[in-house]
C-alpha cells in the first residue's frame, strides 16, 4: 500500500457515475426487447390463430424426427439441436483447421487453407442445398439402404462443417495474436512444437477468442434457419408448413420471428455473461 500524504482524499472505491452514464450502462435495449416480446406473447396467446400457429411450430401434429440419437419433437427443439450439434462440430473441427492454418507443414497448411476458402467461398445456403440435394442423395444411391445419414443429419453436418471454416479463422487469429516469444520460450525448454501448442499457445489463444466464438454461436443460431430449405422441421420450416396449410402467412411468419427473437435474446444474454466473465478473468 502506498502512503498517501495527510489530508488527501481517500481514493473512491468506485467512481461515481453521472446520471447519463448510468443510463448508458443500463441494458435498456434488453429491457425494451423483453417487454416487447412479453407484450407480443400475451397478445398472441389471446388470438386463436396465433395460438394455432405457435402450437403448430412448438407442438406439431406430425411424427417425431430422430437427429443423432436425439428424439426431436418440435420445431423449436429442432432449431436448438441443429444449432448445438453444428456448433460442437464447428468448435472441434474448426480448432483442428485453425491449428493447421498456422502450421509450417505445407500439406497441412494448404489443405486447411483450401478447405477454408472453399467453404467461405460458397454461400451457406448453397452449401446446405448442395449437401442436402446432391451429396446425401448421391451417397445414398451408392451405398443403398445401408447409408446411415438422413437428410436432416446431412444438413446439420453441412452447417457444422461450413461454420468450421469460419471458426478456423477465429482460432487462427487467436493463435497469431500470441507473442512469438511464448513459442520460443517453450521450445527453449526442450518442448516439441505439438507440446508447445498444446500446453502454452492454445490455452492462451482459446481464452482470447472466447468472445468471438460465442458471437458465432448466435450467428449460427440464426443461420440454422437455412436448413429449412432441405425440409429439416425446425422453426422456419414448421412456419412454412403452417402457412402452406392455412394460408395465414402473417400469423405463421410472425410466430417464427417471435420464436427466433426469444432464442437469440436468450443466447445473447448468455454470451454477454460469458464475455464479462472472461474479461474479468483475463
Amino acid at each position: 500500500m502506498s502512503v498517501k500524504p495527510e489530508g488527501s482524499p481517500k481514493p473512491a472505491v468506485r467512481s461515481r457515475l453521472t446520471f447519463s452514464e448510468q443510463m448508458r450502462h443500463f441494458p435498456w435495449w434488453a429491457v425494451i426487447m423483453i417487454a416487447g416480446l412479453a407484450i407480443a406473447f400475451v397478445a398472441m396467446m389471446g388470438n386463436p390463430q396465433y395460438r394455432e400457429a405457435l402450437n403448430f411450430i412448438v407442438r406439431p401434429p406430425t411424427s417425431t424426427e430422430m437427429a443423432f440419437g436425439i428424439e426431436v419433437r418440435n420445431g423449436l427443439m429442432m432449431t436448438l439441436v441443429t444449432t448445438i450439434v453444428a456448433y460442437l462440430i464447428a468448435l472441434i473441427f474448426g480448432l483442428l483447421l485453425g491449428v493447421m492454418r498456422v502450421s509450417k507443414n505445407p500439406i497441412l497448411f494448404h489443405a486447411s487453407t483450401l478447405y477454408v476458402e472453399l467453404m467461405r467461398g460458397v454461400p451457406m445456403l448453397v452449401l446446405i442445398i448442395w449437401i442436402g440435394f446432391v451429396v446425401v442423395p448421391f451417397l445414398r444411391l451408392q451405398a443403398g439402404d445401408a447409408f446411415p445419414l438422413t437428410n436432416v443429419q446431412g444438413a446439420i453436418l453441412g452447417l457444422g462443417f461450413g461454420y468450421a471454416a469460419y471458426l478456423a479463422e477465429v482460432y487462427r487469429s487467436g493463435i497469431e495474436s500470441i507473442s512469438h516469444g511464448q513459442m520460443e520460450a517453450a521450445r527453449s525448454l526442450g518442448m516439441g512444437y505439438v507440446q508447445s501448442m498444446r500446453y502454452v499457445i492454445l490455452p492462451q489463444a482459446i481464452r482470447r477468442v472466447v468472445p468471438p466464438l460465442a458471437n458465432d454461436l448466435v450467428a449460427l443460431l440464426k443461420d440454422s434457419a437455412l436448413v429449412s430449405v432441405v425440409a429439416v422441421p425446425e422453426i422456419l420450416q414448421m412456419a412454412r408448413l403452417y402457412v402452406s396449410r392455412t394460408f395465414r402467412a402473417f400469423e405463421g411468419y410472425n410466430s417464427a420471428a417471435f420464436l427466433y427473437l426469444v432464442l437469440t435474446l436468450a443466447f445473447i444474454i448468455v454470451v454477454r455473461l460469458i464475455e464479462r466473465r472472461w474479461r474479468s478473468n483475463a
Binding site: A185, A186, S188, L189, M191, Y199, Q204, R207
Partner: protein, 245 residues
Amino acid sequence: MPDPIIRVVELHKHFGRVSALNGVNLEVQQGQVVVIIGPSGSGKSTLLRCINHLEKPTHGHVFIEGVDLEAKSTNINKMRTEIGMVFQQFNLFPHLTVLNNITLAQKVVRKRGKEEREQVARQLLERVGIPEKADAYPGQLSGGQQQRVAIARALAMNPKIMLFDEPTSALDPEMITEVLDVMQDLAQTGMTMVCVTHEMGFAKAAANRIIFMDQGLIVEDTTPTDLYENPQHERTRLFLSKILH
C-alpha cells in the same frame, strides 16, 4: 584443453539481404562465464539464438558437447533441454502460476512426477529469492521477479549451459541488481554461461571472458579487465567510451 562444451564454426546468418553473422568462430569451455557486448545489430543476440537453434544458421555449425546441431540425426528438443535460455522479455507463460511455469517442461519433457517437479520448483524459487510467489501469476509480479522466475524455469531442466539474452534490458533500474545477483550466484556454482548484456559491473565481477562483436564478427575476445584497460581495436574503444560513463 578439454573439448569445448560449445563450439561455433564459421557461423553465418542472413535475414534476407541483411547479414547478422559473418563467419563467427567461438569455443566455450565448461564452467566459463562469457559476456558478449557490442552495438545494436552486431549479431550478438543472433549468435546466442543460434547456440540453441532458435535461429537456423545460413552456413556453419554449432556443436554442443561435440554434437552438431545442424545434423539431421540430432534431436534438437533433447539438445535444448541441456541449454537454458533467459529472454529479454521474460516470456513467462501468463496463463500458468509461477509454480506451473517452472514445472510444465519438467512434466512434459523430463517426465518427472508431481512431487519431484514441485520440489525442484520450490527449491529454485528459494534460490532466486521469491519462494512466496509460487502461486502468483506472472502478471502479478514485478519485472525483476518475473525474470528471476524465468531463470528458475530454465534451471529446472538441469541445463549444462545457460544463455542470457539481455536479461536486464527490459527492467526498471532498481530491479536490475536482483537479477544480476542471481546470475552472479549461478556463475559461482560453475555453470557455463553465455550472456549478452551491457552490465559492466556484472562482467567484471562474474565473467572470465568478454567478447566484443561488431558487424557480425568477433572483434575482441579477452578478459573483462583487459578489455577495459587495454582495448586492442579502435571500434572497441569507441563502443566502450559510449557505454561507460
